[in-house]
Symmetry: C2
Subunit: 124 residues, 2 copies
């Protein structure tokens, strides 16, 4: 798979794919002409990067995880630790969002109530 195909399949721009590679997040094989060749494992890895990023992991941390991943099985323990730490972060974020939803609902209820009162006054 070359870069254009990969970009479409993974829903990520070619620019971003090259950028991630330059940053050290992805390592890609080249063909004889020097063009990037992606395979299924690259695809999975890119999708995983997207999830890490979408849940607030910074590229510099994803890069660190990536480095360990390309080092192989010996780094499994470390990677597991990173994921468990990130898991904590994710559950914290969930709490935050739940709390915020409560706030927002209160605010919305308050607005609705205020507007009802205004309507009532107008009606009298």
């Amino acid at each position: 798979m070359r870069i254009g195909e990969m970009a479409k399949a993974a829903e990520i721009s070619e620019y971003t794919l090259r950028y991630y590679e330059k940053k050290g997040l992805i390592q890609v094989r080249r063909d004889d002409a020097g063009r990037r060749c992606y395979d299924e494992s690259d695809m999975e890895w890119i999708k995983f990067i997207k999830r890490l990023k979408d849940t607030g992991m910074l590229l510099k941390d994803i890069k660190e995880y990536s480095r360990l991943r390309y080092e192989g099985n010996a780094t499994m323990q470390e990677r597991l630790q990173m994921l468990e730490k990130h898991r904590e972060y994710v559950t914290e974020q969930q709490k935050k969002w739940a709390e915020y939803l409560g706030n927002l609902d209160d605010k919305i209820a308050f607005y609705k109530d205020s507007m009802d009162r205004i309507e009532k006054i107008k009606g009298t």
Copy 2:
């Protein structure tokens, strides 16, 4: 309350307070010497801005909400609509985080299982 005090109370830097004001998110009264004077209602507003920001609302959208807020009661309907739209966004984010937590747990389980297998092989 002057800017230094406000910054500490709201846990936000003086730089950021000035930046938000310059951007049009906050409108602040000045004293005779031209210094910013914050009151309790500013405090509440600033805390609300922080929550909007923490839940992914862009400053330019917060600015729009702010503009309506400073315009007074006539804009309540519009603000309510913004909040309800943002509420949708927040619940979507919650779903996303829940889904991601599932993925992450699978990945963690997979790592743990892989490491157990490696241990077993070593043991034989």
